[in-house]
Amino acid sequence: MNKLKKEFVLNFIDGQRWKWLLDGLLATLKITAVALVIGIAIGVIIAAVRSTFDKNKASLKLKGGVGYYLLSVADKICKLYVTVIRGTPVVVQLLICYFIIFAKMKDGLPVAMLAFGLNSGAYVAEIFRGGIMSIDEGQFEAGRSLGLNYVQTMQHIIIPQVFKTVLPTLCNEFIVLLKETSVAGYVGIMDLAKAGDLIRGRTFSAFMPLIAVALIYLVFVVILTWLVGRLERRLRNNER
């Protein structure tokens, strides 16, 4: 017991090392929060473009005109984006952003936010697209035959159902994102995982810092899961 206490003091109290964990946690949460917003924005746009193209390409082609070609090009670009982002590891993307694309930017934090946001966007896009495509075609037809146009049908009938369907998968993506930010240390940012590494490098004990970091991540994932669970229950209230 005494040994444990000594270890604890060495790893967290001496040299105020707990402050590193706190700073690291703040950085992790900041990166995750901004990346989440960027990811959802990109995801929604891409999912909208791709599912609109998929659902309307037949009728647009019949109608002729420039609309079909515009949408087709946008669809191709979105597909390329998703392929590239999902086909490369996030660490590599982060390093490319930091050392090549935004080489002139001094602070690493905004670069990391953007890099993780861009990465998450590709996954969120596929989650939303899957949700939209999973809604029965009959729902579209019902909306259209009631006199709603495509956008109105989407807005009032499809999207509310989609949101409920994709919520668990989306929650999964958020959890992955939170934990994925642990590679931010590669570009000199002190996030939670790096703070643990730093303590490890100074005290040379592996147990305490690693367990502490793991526990903090776990606590935040549990909180996130609980929040999404609540939202899910609330959305189900209006179901029969």
Binding site: K104, K106, G188, D197, G201, F204
Partner: protein, 266 residues
């Protein structure tokens, strides 16, 4: 037919299991040496092999003691912890002896002298790292660091530990140090203008400056230090063997020979 396939599968599984079991235990007559192979010329990868002064010194040292080293590439910050828990037998990675590290492991006698130097862009007007301080107290110790000074270092190295200290102890303060996984990353960040300078060991610094245009090393050292081999606290016999072997190698001139091979005389 099914029976035959079944027997073959069972055999294959048995053999895999046997392989797994044997590969777990440390082999007799072999020492596991931990290093971070991104620190030229002390250790770096040449193809699949880890080479450099440390690798060759280890080979020569262990050769004296009749064992063969097996080199394991890991993060610098994990080496001492690994030696402490017995995951590795020795740690050799251009490692400086510090009081903090001595609490966790034993160190052999010094096998190389080194210093921490400052790398800046070639067109920089800075002549000494002392210019990063704006104020000095009555004793001549620094009191404040200039705005915007960011020090790039390799995480957990002595360059990191010294420069993370308070200005009064000739550090630059926790917040002004940006830590990268490898020295090469820190140098890349310097080239991109993300940090003001990089503080790192002299020999790797020379390799980095030689490999990248537009960099120079400031005259004078930021800190002087001695490299030694880390050995587990409970492994007194190994420590004694290593020290004996090092003494023999120094006497025969083999150590100088290895250093001269990687560091051309100036």
């Amino acid at each position: 037919m099914k029976k035959v396939i079944g027997i073959i599968l069972a055999l294959a599984m048995l053999m895999t299991a046997a392989l797994l079991v044997t590969s777990c235990g440390k082999e007799e007559g072999k020492l596991v040496m931990a290093t971070n192979a991104a620190f030229p010329p002390y250790e770096f990868k040449d193809g699949d092999k880890i080479v450099g002064i440390d690798a060759e010194t280890a080979e020569a040292t262990e050769g004296e003691a009749g064992v063969e080293p097996e080199i394991d590439d890991t993060e610098f910050g994990s080496i001492i912890g690994g030696v402490q828990t017995g995951k590795y037998d020795i740690g050799m990675a251009g490692m400086t002896v510090t009081d903090e590290r001595k609490e966790s492991v034993n160190f052999s006698n010094t096998y190389a002298k080194a210093k921490q130097v400052v790398i800046v862009p070639a067109d920089s007007e800075i002549e000494s790292f002392e210019e990063f301080y704006t104020e000095f107290d009555a004793d001549g110790n620094p009191a404040a660091v200039a705005d915007g000074v960011k020090i790039g270092v390799q995480q957990d190295t002595t360059g990191d530990i010294y420069s993370s200290d308070d200005p009064a102890k000739w550090g630059f303060g926790e917040d002004n140090v940006i830590r990268y996984k490898t020295g090469a990353d820190a140098v890349q960040a310097l080239l991109a203008g993300k940090v003001t300078c990089v503080i790192i060991d002299n020999e790797p610094a020379k390799s980095f400056v030689a490999a990248n245009e537009g960099l120079k090393i400031l005259d004078g050292a930021y800190a002087d230090e001695d490299y030694a081999i880390a050995v587990g606290k409970d492994n007194e016999e190994l420590l004694k063997n290593i020290n004996d072997a090092l003494a023999k190698l120094t006497e025969s001139g083999k150590l100088d020979e290895i250093v001269a091979k990687y560091i051309p005389a100036e």
